[in-house]
Assembly symmetry: C2
Homo-oligomer: 331 residues x 2
């Protein structure tokens, strides 16, 4: 799909541009520039390019980098997107709404030979998981809640492993991750019977020293999505788990009536489940989103937490994931 021109549409704030920010931060070499409509209120600091100008620099695909409430394809984008197809682009989207359900886009793509990629729609069919031991090593990020930095942690860890000259591949299980990796499965959109098999498919047998760094989803403690998380644990048969946490959170995401579990509870339950498919699995570190703390507070918190858990405790955003990568290397 890459290289991309990042379409920011009429994004009102940075929160709406999660996909574009992920691509910019983790695959900058694939981002030729940004393209905004008049109403757009944000700036990712990339070069502002028209579709024509970006095409001349090698961009092949418009990445829809913005999501609005409900994940719909906005009417106000259609003129622009049609123009891009006319200019020879493909379009890729991780929105709930499908490009392939938009008659104008389908017709324009057919006319101009462009592809429409809906990354949230599962591609092909998957087998039933079989739990058979595969060669290669796997690390999975699990969280006390949804949206506590599991994807960010996995990507930072892949980067640090590469810096240590250790072969490693980020394995995407959500829309933003699939954009970044260029491949993966949208696990939350897979039919229940095939969840574990889909995870096995994207973490295949590999060189003995190779690490798959698997993007986590949901939480074993989140009643809405826990089944997805357990399928991910059993399908990825992890050798190593990383616990992800956001200390400021008052309750489980979207569920005011549920408190977060402690990191100890997460460690015990996730390890117990993972050891069903890999008896040697270990928890190797904690990754914390300390964005709400001052640098001093964060340092003190992480130091105390590391002692309490007897594990490396880092904020991958502030500190990078090198200590986690070293823990994997030393396993």
């Amino acid at each position: 799909m890459a290289p991309y021109l990042l379409f920011l549409g009429d994004a009102p704030d940075l929160l709406a541009a999660k996909v574009a920010i992920g691509l910019r931060d983790w695959r900058p070499e694939q981002c030729i520039g940004q393209w905004r409509l008049d109403q757009c209120r944000i700036d990712l600091g990339l070069e502002e390019l028209s579709p024509q100008a970006a095409r001349a620099r090698g961009a092949k695909t418009i990445a829809i980098g913005v999501a609005n409430r409900g994940g719909i394809i906005s009417e106000s984008w259609l003129d622009a997107l049609e123009t891009a197809l006319e200019a020879g682009y493909n379009i890729a989207s991780g929105l709930h709404d499908r490009l392939s359900d938009q008659p104008r886009l389908v017709a324009a793509a057919a006319r101009h030979g462009g592809q429409l990629w809906d990354l949230r729609a599962p591609q092909g069919s998957f087998p039933i998981g079989n739990g058979a031991k595969r060669t290669g090593k796997r690390c999975l990020a699990v969280g006390t809640d949804c949206s506590v930095g599991k994807m960010y942690t996995a990507l930072a860890l892949e980067k640090s492993l590469h810096e240590l000259d250790i072969a490693a591949s980020f394995r995407a299980t959500g829309q933003t991750g699939i954009f970044i990796a260029g491949t993966g499965v949208p696990l939350d959109a897979i039919v229940a019977d095939f969840m574990a098999g889909a995870v096995e498919t994207i973490t295949p047998a590999n060189d003995a020293a190779h690490w798959d760094i698997v993007e986590g989803q949901g939480s074993l403690f989140h009643p809405s999505f826990s089944g997805v998380t357990l399928a991910l644990i059993h399908g990825s048969q992890p050798d190593a788990l990383i616990l992800c946490h956001e200390p400021q959170r008052q309750h489980m995401r979207g569920l005011p009536h549920y408190a977060l579990p402690s990191l100890e509870e997460l460690r015990d339950l996730a390890l117990r489940c993972a050891q069903r498919v890999n008896p040697d699995c270990q928890v190797i570190g904690v990754a914390v989103n300390t964005a709400a703390m001052t640098p001093d507070e964060a340092r003190d918190y992480l130091q105390e937490l590391g002692q309490r858990m007897q594990l490396p405790a880092v904020d991958p955003y502030r500190d990078g994931a090198m200590r986690l990568a070293q823990a994997l290397r030393d396993l």
Copy 2:
């Protein structure tokens, strides 16, 4: 959908007729008779009726009571099924293959005003689960493995509760169960994000004294399907769990490389997961399939097991589920 004429097709053995046997055993009042093709090798002991004769006695729907390898709709059935539609029947099927994908059946149904019900296809859309506490009580059967008698146990328990004049509803989560209950969700066919929400939908708020008896699926210890099981536990927020087991089983179903967990392991993990959504949840009994034992062996085994687990231990097939129903009553 009921009353039914049970279509046994060309079933080679009783194993192929699981759906028909379930209907005969649990909803005999809805089974007007059986209908077999010439090659059929089994007999369910129901009256042998032609579609015309069964129609005259009130049958409304042909229940496809047989499954062949792969769950396909056999070519050799089509003439017969078309004849039934001509005679004014609806057809219901829990097969993987869909009736609605068979042009001959679709055309015949349209011509004669019959309905085609594909029970394995999820009906409508489901919300994301929210884990909010609902009134009424719920009991869920969980297993050391797949296919260890969870559905049978739930149906036997519903029957025993009714004998005790306790309001109770069997809640179906698989194809055979949906046939028997006339409603339910085919949980293994639901999109991952909506599994828990689908279970919440079929176990809604109810009278405080009413019991939902929820059909279990898979096993927390079965790497292929564990995610479905956890969604079921969190979606049904059980007040009571029943542990289901088959002592003769040598390995997890379909996975020769996985041993079964002990009943103690199942108790501990299932309870821990269930208490996330219902802190008061208790394990109230054990249901064992002792078909491979003599009556004396079974009695001794269950007595020893009951002492070991400090729980009522029964074989619902041999003994019924009254002791489990009493345990629910006494909770």
